[in-house]
């Protein structure tokens, strides 16, 4: 069993906008290219060029349809893109189940990491995580996971504006945001407040740090976007109306 810090100085995490994500996979491959050479390198790929190719990815985007939900607006369904990665929970069971102390939550910034030197590959953490955020490297026999790009966000070898997680740096629609969710005055906290950001499966009690912004209401009906109806010109008809004096 591994213990958790009672509190952390900061709660660094991501805010992901489900209203804006187009499912382009930019965050997925950018995470891959950064992290396969980063702290938990490599992100091994098996059967890379064959059937059932299967690699380690810290971030995946799933696409599925939702039907009969109010977020569908006037449509019967809506297509959702759902980016999924470690939520850096405040009380993550993936840490507390770890028999060796390999999994741990940092006291300074709240990032959940794995110390590969201590990992025995027992996979208890991946069974404990309900979000499927853990990634077992079968080839190396150790557990890997999102590091929140801990090797980027403080990296003095990078320009200051580049010191954000790779997924945030690259997101083409600005659907991903990074910051301290423990600071109510941070940009990310204000964004969560203004958009009604939610925890993923809060009922499980792990207190995820990452937040998801729900889709905005659709403006696809007369009720959702009241607009005066177009009325035919009656007096002289349309071609009478154009007789007004016009000049080039």
């Amino acid at each position: 069993m591994t213990s958790l810090p009672a509190t952390t100085d900061k709660k660094l995490g991501l805010v992901i906008d489900l209203d804006t994500c187009v499912g382009c996979q930019a965050c997925v491959t950018n995470c891959k290219e950064w992290n396969t050479g980063g702290l938990m390198a490599p992100l091994t790929d098996l059967k890379s060029y064959g059937a059932e190719a299967d690699g380690v990815w810290f971030n995946r985007v799933h696409t599925y349809e939702v039907t009969g939900h109010e977020a569908c607006g006037a449509s019967a369904s809506r297509t959702m893109h759902f980016p999924r990665s470690c939520l850096h929970c405040e009380t993550p069971e993936c840490v507390t189940v770890c028999p060796t102390g390999a999994s741990y939550k940092r006291t300074t910034d709240g990032i959940v990491l794995v110390n590969e030197d201590l990992c025995i590959g027992c996979k208890l953490c991946s069974w404990a995580c309900p979000y499927g955020a853990r990634e077992f490297d079968v080839f190396e026999g150790v557990m890997k996971k999102c590091t929140l790009c801990v090797d980027r966000i403080y990296n003095e070898n990078l320009a200051e504006e580049d010191r954000v997680p790779a997924c945030v740096l690259t997101c083409p629609t600005s659907a991903r945001h990074f910051g301290d969710l423990g600071d109510p005055n941070s940009d990310v906290s204000k964004l969560v407040a203004s958009r009604g950001g939610v925890d993923l499966m809060p009922e499980l009690g792990y207190k995820p740090t990452n937040k998801y912004l729900p889709p905005r209401a659709r403006k696809d009906s007369a009720a959702a976007r009241p607009t005066p109806e177009l009325k035919p010109i009656t007096a002289d008809g349309f071609l009478g109306w154009v007789d007004k004096l016009l000049s080039r």
């Binding site: 050479g37 980063g38 390198a41 064959g50 039907t67 910034d109 403080y154 740096l169 083409p172 080039r248």
Partner: protein
């Protein structure tokens, strides 16, 4: 503000070494041309990042771009020139030296050039060096040149350029910062990739409404406020119904139409005469309008006139009517009322009416005004610019139909009626556009090809009248693809999809050598893939191939490699020089002209050469003018970078516009030896900003027009009048009616007369009109996954993990009615053939439509994939059921105006495969085997491990 590293004491190095050096260049993982920063460690690519300073992507990078590492280190890369030693398709190759390869090519080509240059068909695919390749064809002397535009988006380019003097994507963009209502038509995940995503992010942040008109609710459509899932090929009807609503309610911008379009121009109404439908003109050729004050016909280009928009007028004894009235009469007709089109579009009339009302409300009740002082073409000063903040963007879903040209024109007409072209919140031009309508030059090659002589101009251009067509003495096509003939008169990008078929049929004539670059014609780039393979291997009775020689350049072991006789291995995009030129398809944005380069960031580890350098080498060996000096020595011994810097198309005009002359000149200037260094210092791009008062109303803005002329983009600083009514089209129609010196043969008269309508029209797609809709009840489409780009992504170890099998997406209700369940394997059958696919049932697709991802399926054994890879066993190409010809016809499956390949016209039926067929796609194409140097990629890939060690 970044965070400071805390004292965690967990042994994690939070500041690892990242790069020995960072080099900028331009991405080539798709056509988008984003700026990238390539981080290198020990000469290997550690990380590719978007360049924050770059005008296209502004720092972000898409899913493809970030996977460029795997493209560069792909096992499918070719390593050395190859020649075929077995039969075509038998996968028997021999590696040869470059000298031998170039000698073989020079032998074939010099023979052609000395006898009949048009026997060379030189077609490049997704080529970003068309100003070089087109010029090379010109110097060689063959008219048979084009790139892939004919099967991509020529309808969008041509309809735009002939209507508003610009186009969606390449030569225009929505005003993302100001628009309040954005309509996107038929955009299948890219074109252009990152700017659209950045723009949609901005719209979402501002709360602007986003309407996506697309049969499938994926990608961008998924985040739209409103998804209009109409029936494929009916976008034109939908748009015309909106136009009907706007006209009927007087919701059009008459001031804009009078000032900036040809709405007031008088059109002669003299049926049966050569003048019918032509613009009434004064003796100097100026168009006439009817002046309300003087009650006379007057030069419509003058500033101080008060033109009328309706009425019948006598002009020199002929009846004439303003173009506006002709337009209004057409769309006011109840045939275009929402109630009349709703069923065909598959969209309720109430929805069409509501969208029309919303568009009108935003354009006219929510107009915006930017306090930008500007001067119009006539010298009149204005203290503000009025914006109608409705913007539109359209791409392949419009383009890839036989009615695509007219549909695209209809969208531009809608924009003009709203007054939303190049205004704040609307569509904005990107330099070098707007240009005169149509712009020059005309296509070269009217005299055909002359031995050992250049063609006399660029093979692709813009025709203005039947006299500009490329026809021989008998009125037959001069070009192998029949572009600029009566088959496809305004085929501005050629018809790459017809080259192989026409050459093998000897119609209009056989060829000697097919020379291709970056076009996978033996697989996913062809309609009728099976037939194309058969044609590539077809023989004459004497055992010789019907296409005697095939030269192909590709960086990878694509399917087409197996059908070439001579293979010239290209570099990857990280190993090469390139220029993204204003002479071709630059990286301009609405506020600036721009161009860019690629620089090699990594040296090739194998015996490959950049295609453009090889082309210049071949040109020198062939002694082509412009490629050798007076002594006959190579003029560009330094290859492509030498050409990029030193070639001048006209005095002072070269491939790159930045840092010319002494290094300070833009646009014009002598070659500058330090130019490439200047580009590299600036991040490998140049951006020349348009003056602040010249960024809107470009077609009529004196400051813009002067700047554009000074840059060499337009010949004269004159107003560019937008064309709601297209007189060039009417000229073709009149020729079909028996007027003028160049007329179509009788068999083509009715077709030309029908489709060369000077106003946007709608007709059912040709295949739909030719088949029995009971037998083929469904439309079938492809879309590109945002994370793949055609076959380039298939050998990418990361991208293929995201998608390696494409499903057939089918409407759940439609499928259930046919007892088709999720995951079933089904046969997709068209008039042309059938292919098997596994279905995925969805709600978010038009009920009469099935669709799939494009180009995931691969021929077994190709692309260095394991033969059991899902790409070859479970994925499929829809291409197998699409024909390059119309059902029971020799007419090509193309737009009748432009020759655009009508990929999206295909009609199919879908039936559950038999129980014993429920395992896989059951492809019966034989396997291909890799050439020397290509082996199936490794089972275990641990790219990056080397960097973590270095970082410690």
């Amino acid at each position: 503000m970044a965070f400071t590293a805390p004292l965690e004491n967990d042994g994690v190095n939070t500041s690892p070494h990242v790069a020995d050096e960072v080099k900028t260049t331009t991405c080539y993982m798709c056509a988008c041309r984003c700026g990238i920063k390539v981080h290198l460690q020990n000469g290997q690519v550690r990380y590719i990042q978007g360049n924050r300073d770059h005008p296209v992507n502004k720092g972000i990078l898409c899913g493809k771009g970030a996977a460029g590492i795997m493209q560069h280190y792909s096992p499918a890369r070719l390593r050395k020139p190859l020649k075929r030693v077995g039969e075509r398709g038998a996968s028997e190759y021999a590696e040869i030296e470059w000298d031998e390869a170039l000698s073989i090519a020079t032998g074939w080509l010099s023979n052609i050039r000395a006898t009949d240059p048009k026997k060379l068909a030189f077609f490049t695919g997704r080529d970003q060096s068309q100003s070089l390749t087109g010029w090379w064809a010109n110097q060689f002397g063959t008219p048979n040149y084009a790139a892939h535009g004919g099967f991509c988006s020529v309808n969008m380019a041509t309809a735009g350029i002939y209507t508003i003097g610009g186009s969606f994507w390449e030569f225009g963009e929505p005003d993302w910062d100001h628009t309040k209502y954005f309509m996107m038509f038929g955009v299948a995940e890219d074109h252009d990739s990152n700017p659209i995503k950045i723009g949609l992010g901005k719209l979402k942040a501002r709360g602007a409404k986003f309407v996506s008109v697309n049969p499938a609710q994926t990608g961008y459509s998924a985040i739209a406020d409103e998804w209009v899932g109409l029936r494929p090929g009916t976008d034109g009807l939908f748009v015309m119904a909106i136009i009907h609503e706007l006209l009927q309610s007087g919701s059009v911008d008459l001031d804009y139409l009078v000032r900036y379009t040809n709405a007031p121009w008088l059109v002669i109404q003299a049926p049966g005469t050569a003048d019918d439908g032509m613009i009434a003109r004064d003796p100097q050729g100026n168009p006439l309008c009817w002046d309300q004050k003087t009650k006379t016909p007057i030069n419509a280009l003058l500033a101080e006139v008060a033109p009328v928009l309706r009425g019948n007028f006598d002009v020199n004894g002929k009846r004439a009517v303003p173009a506006f009235e002709l337009m209004a009469q057409r769309y006011l007709d109840n045939a275009y009322a929402p109630d009349a089109v709703a069923e065909r579009c598959g969209i309720p009339a109430a929805t069409i009416k509501r969208i029309a009302a919303e568009v009108a409300h935003v354009a006219f009740q929510q107009q915006i005004e930017l306090p930008i002082a500007w001067t119009d073409w006539a010298g009149r000063k204005h203290d503000k610019i009025i914006g109608r903040p409705v913007a539109m963007h359209a791409m392949r879903g419009i383009s890839a139909h036989t009615n695509g040209f007219h549909t695209c024109r209809a969208i531009h007409l809608l924009q003009m009626l709203l007054g939303s072209v190049d205004v704040p919140g609307g569509f904005r031009y990107k330099p070098p556009y707007p240009r005169p309508i149509p712009p020059g030059p005309k296509p070269a090659g009217k005299k055909g090809a002359t031995p050992n002589q250049p063609l006399g101009g660029m093979p692709l251009g813009f025709v203005t009248a039947p006299e500009d067509l490329l026809l021989d003495g008998q009125g037959k096509p001069i070009r192998i693809d029949k572009a600029y003939s009566w088959d496809h008169p305004i085929a501005s990008h050629g018809l790459m999809h017809m080259v192989i078929s026409n050459a093998v049929n000897g119609d209009p004539y056989p060829i000697d050598t097919l020379f291709m670059y970056m076009a996978n014609m033996a697989w996913n780039s062809s309609m009728n893939t099976r037939g194309t393979i058969d044609m590539l291997t077809a023989k004459n009775t004497d055992g010789s191939y019907k296409i005697p020689h095939i030269i192909y350049s590709d960086a990878y072991f694509s399917e087409t490699v197996a059908y070439a006789d001579l293979i010239l291995p290209d570099t990857t995009y990280l190993e090469r020089w390139d220029c993204i030129s204003l002479l071709d398809r630059p990286i301009s944005d609405a506020d600036a002209a721009g161009d860019a380069i690629r620089q090699p960031v990594i040296a090739p580890d194998r015996d490959v050469r950049a295609f453009q350098t090889v082309l210049l080498d071949l040109g020198a060996r062939l002694k082509l003018p412009g490629m050798v000096d007076e002594d006959g020595d190579p003029k560009f011994p330094g290859g492509y970078p030498d050409y990029i810097v030193n070639h001048e198309r006209a005095p002072g005009i070269g491939p790159l516009a930045g840092w010319r002359g002494d290094g300070t000149a833009q646009g014009h200037g002598a070659p500058n030896a330090a130019q490439l260094d200047n580009y590299i210092e600036n991040g490998c791009f140049w951006r020349g900003e348009i003056p602040h008062d010249a960024r809107y109303m470009k077609m009529a803005n004196a400051s813009y027009l002067a700047w554009s002329k000074q840059m060499g983009f337009i010949p004269k600083a004159e107003q560019i009048v937008l064309q709601i009514y297209s007189e060039p089209l009417q000229k073709f129609r009149n020729a079909a009616r028996g007027h003028g010196p160049v007329q179509p043969p009788d068999k083509d008269r009715a077709r030309i007369e029908t489709y060369f309508d000077p106003l946007p029209m709608w007709y059912a797609p040709f295949e739909e009109a030719a088949i029995d809709p009971q037998q083929f009840p469904l439309h079938a489409l492809t879309q590109r996954p945002m994370h793949h780009y055609h076959s380039w992504g298939s050998q990418n170890a990361w991208l293929r993990q995201i998608t390696s099998q494409n499903r057939l997406f089918m409407n759940r209700t439609t499928a259930t009615a046919q007892n088709i369940a999720d995951d079933d394997w089904v046969w997709i059958t068209s008039h042309a053939g059938r292919v098997k696919a596994q279905v995925r049932l969805v709600d978010g697709v038009n009920k009469d439509t099935v669709w799939t991802w494009n180009a995931i399926g691969k021929r077994k054994g190709s692309w260095a994939l394991n033969p059991n890879a899902p790409e070859s066993t479970r994925a499929f190409l829809l291409n197998h059921v699409i024909s390059e010809r119309l059902p029971n016809s020799q007419q090509s499956n193309s737009d009748p105006i432009t020759g655009q390949a009508a990929w999206f016209d295909v009609r199919v039926r879908v039936e559950r495969a038999a129980d014993h067929e429920q395992n896989d796609a059951g492809h019966n194409f034989g396997a291909l085997y890799p050439p020397p140097g290509v082996t199936t990629g490794p089972d275990v890939l641990q790219y990056g491990a080397q960097f973590s060690e270095a970082a410690e």
